[in-house]
């Protein structure tokens, strides 16, 4: 029946084994080998639909190959394996199992040929990513996990409504480019955008990711938003509203990251920022733009996981998670520091790093389409990325003041994972030819033109100058920043209390009036119907008969007249 094995099965099998095996060493082998088997299977999937199924009479395309699908699945598998190397010695078993199933969901979405299959894997991701958040183990993680789950289940319902609607109107569940033009397609778009952390519902990301465990946030950084980008590429390429949404995300991420004090929350905001670049690219929708979005997603998963690894080691070793509590860690954590710096340079798209060879593709797409404003806003945002993540993260964590902390550097397995991803960041930066052939369309683009490199060096280095000159204005404060989630975390409870307080006097008064009315009614009833009242007391039989005769006469008379 199977000509090939669905790649996601390798991770699901790995998760089951991880859950069952009691030996730590054997479990470590499983969590690392399962994603590698998955990676092998991914590269066995040819283009086109290779595995069909049926559900309630609907034809399903469980596995459909294609260049962009393979690219995303590949990086998900690489991420899963490297994350496992990083995590196996420190994460709880529950977290390792959940992370594998979460990755299986992402790989499943990558190869989903129809919307129903996509939806099922989408929900698997939502469920098990929530478990990963909960593995943070703190009260904050519990509460943020609940908010995270509600948001994603809501997004899932919206997506499902859209899928049902599309099925009713077109009769097809096939994944193909759509246009947001009616209710169903809008619902699908909104459902996907919620997972991409698009406005106004971006806050789940920065709320939940930093509360996960130091290893959990590495997994979380990779899958949810990037599968959303893949879904946008497959379903809504060239949807022009995405350009505006993406630009908003880019600057939202920068401003909130600039205000933030929590180390991992800075990185969480910069996920929104980077995903914004990809959303803009999908919105532009040309071949170069789609290549740019795909390549940038690939590079982004690597350097963002690297940054979260570096931050995770700091949180694990120091037990502190605020910029104001750390600083000067470069003395005893050189490997973590250098890996963090390389990740920071890559996210800033510094020449010779992966960010440069992928993000400039997106800028090039804006140039080709003559989108002047978009181009300059993206350039300004590139400067802003260097400001909020590229320098801010390493500076406040590893340099700044001397916090007096002298923690050990990363454990060996975490070092291996970080060094591998740092190596990939530079490899893709120096040899983009390795990545370009994997992109969905043929690439005719050369990032290393001297003029372009010089432009970006000017842009980035002078952003660095601005950072150090403006340091007095960037003092970290012991604060959080309000977001749209204020509406349900504070606004709704306050509203309920307010309504209760305002509503109480009239309700009390109305109840008193009602009580008064009921009292009057009871008294009058008692008066007329009590055993002394006119209707209640006993009458003589003769009087009653007389009354009946009288009534009957009136009735006969009335009947005769009318």
């Amino acid at each position: 029946m199977f000509e090939m094995l669905p790649p996601a099965l390798a991770l699901i099998g790995g998760a089951l084994l991880t859950a069952l095996i009691s030996s730590r060493q054997l479990r470590a082998v499983v969590v690392i080998v399962a994603p590698l088997i998955c990676l092998y299977l991914i590269w066995q999937v040819p283009d086109g639909v290779v595995l069909r199924g049926e559900f309630l009479g609907y034809p399903l395309e469980l596995v459909e190959g294609g260049p962009v699908r393979r690219l995303f699945a590949t990086i998900f598998a690489i991420m899963s394996a490297t994350g496992a190397v990083f995590a196996f010695n420190h994460a709880r078993r529950t977290e390792l199992v959940a992370a594998q199933l979460y990755a299986a969901g992402a790989v499943g979405v990558s190869f989903a040929g129809d919307l129903l299959t996509l939806f099922v894997f989408w929900e698997i991701m939502a469920l098990f990513s929530t478990v990963v958040v909960w593995c943070g183990g703190t009260e904050n993680a519990r509460a943020a996990g609940v908010r995270y789950a509600i948001m994603h289940l809501l997004g899932g319902v919206i997506l499902k409504v859209g899928i049902e609607g599309l099925l009713v109107t077109t009769g097809s569940l096939d994944i193909r480019p759509l246009a947001a033009e009616d209710f169903s397609t809008w619902m699908i778009l909104i459902g996907i955008l919620i997972n991409a952390a698009a406005p106004p519902l971006s806050s789940w990301l920065s709320d939940a990711y930093p509360t996960a465990s130091p290893t959990g946030s590495v997994f979380l950084s990779a899958f949810t938003t990037k599968t959303a980008i893949l879904a946008l590429i497959l379903l809504f390429p060239g949807e022009s509203i995405l350009v505006g949404i993406g630009l908003f995300m880019v600057f939202y991420g920068i401003f909130y990251a600039l205000l933030e004090n929590d180390i991992r929350r800075i990185l969480a905001f910069s996920i929104v920022n980077q995903v914004g670049f990809m959303v803009v690219a999908v919105g532009i929708g040309t071949e170069t733009a789609i290549n740019g979005a795909s390549a940038h997603a690939f590079a982004h998963i690597i350097y963002k996981a690297l940054l979260f690894m570096s931050a995770g080691v700091v949180v694990m070793r120091t037990g502190k998670h605020l910029c104001t509590d750390v600083g000067g860690l470069f003395r005893t954590m050189p490997v973590t520091m250098w890996c963090g710096v390389i990740g920071a340079l890559a996210i800033s798209s510094f020449p010779l790093t992966s960010g440069f060879t992928t993000k400039t593709l997106i800028s090039q797409a804006a140039v080709d389409e003559g989108l002047v404003t978009v181009y300059f806003l993206l350039a300004a945002a590139s400067a802003g990325v260097f400001l909020h993540a590229g320098i801010k993260f390493p500076w406040f964590v590893f340099f700044q003041k001397d916090s007096g902390l002298r923690p050990d550097d990363a454990p060996w397995n975490m070092r291996i994972a970080m060094l591998f991803f740092a190596f990939l960041c530079i490899l893709i930066g120096v040899y983009p030819q390795l990545l370009y052939p994997l992109l969905p369309y043929a690439v005719d683009y050369h990032p290393y033109k001297p003029g372009k490199v010089l432009f970006y060096l000017q842009l980035l280095l002078f952003s660095g100058l601005a950072f150090f000159l403006l340091l007095p204005w960037m003092k970290r404060t012991l604060t959080i920043s309000l977001d749209v989630d204020w509406l349900w975390r504070r606004g709704m409870p306050v509203l309920v209390q307010f309504v209760a307080r305002i509503g109480k006097p009239p309700v009390v008064a109305a109840r008193r009036r009602l009580q008064h009315g009921v009292d009057l009614l009871t008294a009058s009833a008692r008066h007329t119907m009590g055993h002394t009242g006119p209707l209640g007391r006993s009458w003589e039989i003769g009087t009653t008969a007389l009354w009946i005769v009288l009534l009957l006469m009136i009735y006969v008379f009335a009947y005769y007249l009318f």
Partner: protein, 82 residues
Amino acid sequence: MTQPDNHWLTRPTTIRWLWIIGYSVLAMTVLLQLLIPIKGYFGVDSWFGFGALFGFLSCVLMVFGAKFIGKLLKRPEDYYDV
């Protein structure tokens, strides 16, 4: 263990040198434009030192923009806990 206040990277002389080197690199990236022309896509971006000025001013705007937004949105850390 390293002496906390005497790491070579934290000495004032080192920091002064870092600033000098930093400024020289900055100057160099701008002056290099005399040798390597930047092909502008939209006219202004080929001007001399445009990248430098654009990057610097964008950052200044963003830092003060964030400062302003922070005035409206910043709350104490335990805002949601009470």
